[in-house]
């Protein structure tokens, strides 16, 4: 074999001619060994990647898209997973036949990869500079001064300001968006032929997502890098792809040019997938309940008045409070029965803290009323009674169910805690709830790990409904679900609302989902509400610049409406941590007509 006698060649081979594919995958089959023998997670997958092309591999969880990317990098989880058939050719080299030593020279050098989780993908105990320089020195023989220069250059290329001083910083000192840029800088520092980006923006806020996508696109244009972008988000596909591969259960179900996939999907699955994608500006699936609720003077299920949540940070010699996190700063809202109020905003804006205050999980200042009773000054028993009226559904259906309890017992637990009914009555009620949320009664005896993510979230919904609450707080409850599952869970939530008249406080960062489910929307920024109004007021007539930026940043699942330029933020969102006595200025909301409240001055 050539590469053995000329070891340099694999790493430094001349770029293949433009008409030949950079990467060619043929008949790739990946098997994973489990308890019940080996089973394929990717079967007979073939595709090729041209120079400078962006290929999106899209699919829902379990479709094998991430396994494919790990196989190309030869980073499949060992020893369970292996490539059982097929080839992956980079130029003239078949990567499946390379040993680890030669594969190492390709990794990070000719094929680089960035991962989904920027928060955990950088080593927390090593400086940014060390991690960057190391990536460069692993493949080049340059001096340390030269690799340092290259590192600074790479950071500058991903538009990180003051690149040189960043080298000394550690990952925890940077925001998620910044860390993902460091990852990109690391991946592109050696100008690889192929960049694999596995859900690179899924964990990022939507405005940051736009910037990172744009950055990837620009860098690709400059260097002619071929990109494999793995994503579940059809909006990102429409925004970025030249060609698309749709995968399901480890098989390619359809591939084609991005415009063809979106306009003329050939396969039912693709059509279903695209139909399930929540789109903005297509609302109306939901009737506005104002006309039906108006005559009978809607009763407010929950009211917040001038709600503050602040967390003290201690420091100094005697551990005194010297700084405060201003998580929620004087917000007021009300939710009527049968109504859905959405809180939207980016991470750290205080939306989840608001929910926790409402559920009695964090101390607060200001007024909170549930079902007309003020939570302040209630005794232990009265507080417990009020809590029956407020239930929560959390984001991660995997982490919010105790793995050692049967799901039937999990749903019955709130009834036990509040001492409602006899065991027989409880079982009956739980059975009814199971049927109502679309699960079967005989599943009550099973354990959480036997259910899929969507089913688990249904169990969480059943648990929240068990006490027949007046208000359900859904904190990013559909964010972790695949789009098709997400659509069904949202539909279930709407049906349950119509049936039980329960009010929802719906917390989400996903503007499309919010538009789909909300009656009213409140936009939060740095602990305060900057705009609040009906869904139509917010989405058809956003007044506050921050609201506009949020809406514009959402990638539209339509390749025809691809943006040339993303809305770019001038600077990062400031920290909500402030010195004592330095409370932020309170925004005054003005009514611009029809109850549409807008903060009077721009945030910046």
């Amino acid at each position: 074999m050539n590469a053995a006698t000329h070891p340099k060649q694999a790493a430094g081979a001349p770029a293949p001619a433009a008409d030949r594919p950079v990467l060619d995958v043929a008949g790739l089959t990946i098997s994973v060994r489990g308890e019940d023998g080996e089973r394929p997670v990717v079967s007979d997958l073939s595709f090729s990647l041209a120079r400078g092309e962006t290929l999106c591999i899209a699919g829902e969880s379990g479709s094998g898209k991430s396994m494919t990317s790990l196989a190309i990098m030869a980073l499949l989880p060992q020893p369970q997973a292996r490539i059982s058939a097929g080839s992956i050719r980079l130029g003239d080299t078949d990567l499946t036949s390379l040993d680890e030593r030669r594969m190492r020279r390709i990794r990070g050098n000719r094929i680089a990869m960035i991962f989904q989780e920027p928060m955990t993908s950088l080593n927390p105990v090593l400086s940014i500079g060390r991690q960057l320089v190391e990536a460069i020195e692993a493949h080049t023989g340059v001096s340390s001064a030269e690799s340092r220069r290259l590192a600074i250059e790479a950071l500058t290329a991903v538009r990180i300001p003051e690149a040189e001083s960043r080298l000394k910083q550690y990952p925890h000192e940077l925001s998620g968006g910044m860390r993902q840029r460091v990852m990109i800088a690391m991946a592109l520092a050696l100008k690889p032929d192929v960049l694999i980006a596995d859900e690179p923006t899924t964990a990022l806020d939507v405005t940051v997502q736009g910037e990172v996508l744009e950055l990837l696109r620009d860098l690709q244009r400059q260097h002619g890098t071929s990109v494999i972008l793995i994503t579940h988000d059809m909006g990102v596909v429409a925004e970025m792809a030249d060609r698309v591969i749709i995968m399901r259960y480890g098989r390619m179900v359809e591939q084609g040019k991005v415009a063809d996939i979106f306009e003329r999907p050939q396969v039912d699955y693709t059509r279903d997938l695209l139909a399930a994608v929540p789109r903005m500006g297509t609302g109306g699936a939901r009737q506005v309940p104002t006309d039906k609720a108006e005559p009978s003077q809607p009763t407010d299920v929950a009211v917040a008045r001038d709600l503050h949540v602040r967390f003290d940070l201690t420091g100094g010699f005697f551990g005194r409070v010297n700084r405060r996190v201003h998580a929620v700063e004087g917000i007021s809202f009300s939710i009527a029965a049968n109504e859905t109020l959405s809180l939207v905003g980016e991470s750290g804006c205080g939306k989840s803290t608001t929910a926790k205050a409402l559920a009695g999980l964090v101390p607060y200042h200001g007024e909170l009323e549930i079902g007309g009773r003020n939570l302040k000054g209630l005794g232990r028993e009265a507080r417990k009674a009020v809590r029956r009226d407020v239930q929560m559904i959390f984001q991660d259906p995997y982490a919010s169910l105790d793995p050692r309890m049967r799901v039937g017992d999990l749903v019955a637990e709130p009834l036990v805690i509040h001492d409602i009914g006899t065991p027989g009555e409880r079982t009956e009620r739980v059975a009814a709830l199971f049927e109502r949320v679309g699960l079967s009664v005989d599943q009550m005896e099973r354990y959480p790990h036997e259910f899929s993510g969507g089913q688990r979230q249904r169990i969480c919904i059943a648990r929240a409904l068990a006490l027949r609450p007046k208000l359900i707080i859904a904190d990013e409850s559909v964010s972790a679900l695949d789009v098709s599952v997400q659509a069904r869970v949202l539909q279930l939530l709407k049906e349950l609302q119509a049936e039980f008249g329960v009010a929802y406080l719906f917390i989400s960062h996903d503007m499309a989902v919010v538009e789909n489910i909300s009656d009213r929307v409140a936009v939060m920024y740095l602990g305060q509400i900057v705009e609040m109004g009906t869904r139509d007021q917010i989405f058809s007539n956003p007044r506050h610049p921050y609201t506009r930026r949020l809406i514009e940043a959402v990638p539209v699942p339509d390749p025809q409406r691809r943006r040339a330029r993303f809305a770019r933020m001038e600077r990062e969102i400031p920290s909500p941590v402030r010195k004592l006595g330095d409370a932020p200025r309170k925004l005054v909301l003005a009514d611009v007509g029809g109850g549409h409240l807008v903060a009077e001055s721009p945030v910046s």
């Binding site: 991962f115 990536a135 690391m186 201690t314």
Partner: protein
Amino acid sequence: MIAYLTRRLIQAALILLGVSLITFALLYLLPADPVRQIAGRSATPQTVESIRQQLGLDQPFAVQYWRYLTNLVSGDLGRSYIQRSEVSELIVARLPASLLLMVGAIVCELVIGLSMGLIAAVKRGSATDQALMVGSFIGVSAPQFVVGLLLLYVFAVKLGWFPIGGYGTFSHMVLPSLTLGILGAGWYSRMMRSSMIDVLRQDYIRTARAKGLAQRAVLFGHALPNAILPVIAMIGIDIGMFMGGIVVVESVFGWPGIGQLAWQAIQRVDIPIIMGVTLVSACAIVLGNLLADIVAPFIDPRIKLR
């Protein structure tokens, strides 16, 4: 940093005060009578009583403790009942030997424990892993006097590689350090293994491999600094465990440290020495923990001392 240190040292003083009070009270409640030990069997009641008065042991507990504490503040640990010399002198004469033994034991623990844990984690599930973990289990469960005697028999008596006992050269140190360190090495290898397995699953390890780093660079450059953090916190606690082990190991190997001093004192109810050794050990534990906490931020930049 200075504020942090000051606060920790104040805490340390309070801990030592507590330790002194509890030990003093326990020794006061002891049914054994130190005066009888000093005076001997044949002493008349008058002699016993005069010795009791002379030592102030006829005073109420509060008075005795207060006197001990005021002396302690001025650096006076009292005089040994039996050996007729200052406790502080006795301890100072023997402390270096014990500290040397501890340093040797820590080195053994770290070298053996960490490398065993590291290898086991990397070769997780293999025969090597299982063999190492059985070894660590034996290390954890074997009594120290058995380990000590076994090492002594094999390496000193049979093979003659090391001296049978005593103190002075490096080769004198090997067997006692090993005996004292083997228990900790067993714990550390288990901790290191689980910590390392956990770290090797992290996303940043995948990132490091995706950069094309060699396995060695991934393990030692990326995984080790993260995996070693919980182990460092253990070293502080470990020094406390040494204090128990030192008594046994020093008697087995005839090592002239404070363990032997304490053992003799306990047999003869020599209260000032027992108090002195207990306080010195408590100091060592407190300082060891402080040291571990001070070292941690140098490895993990996320830790801030405040």
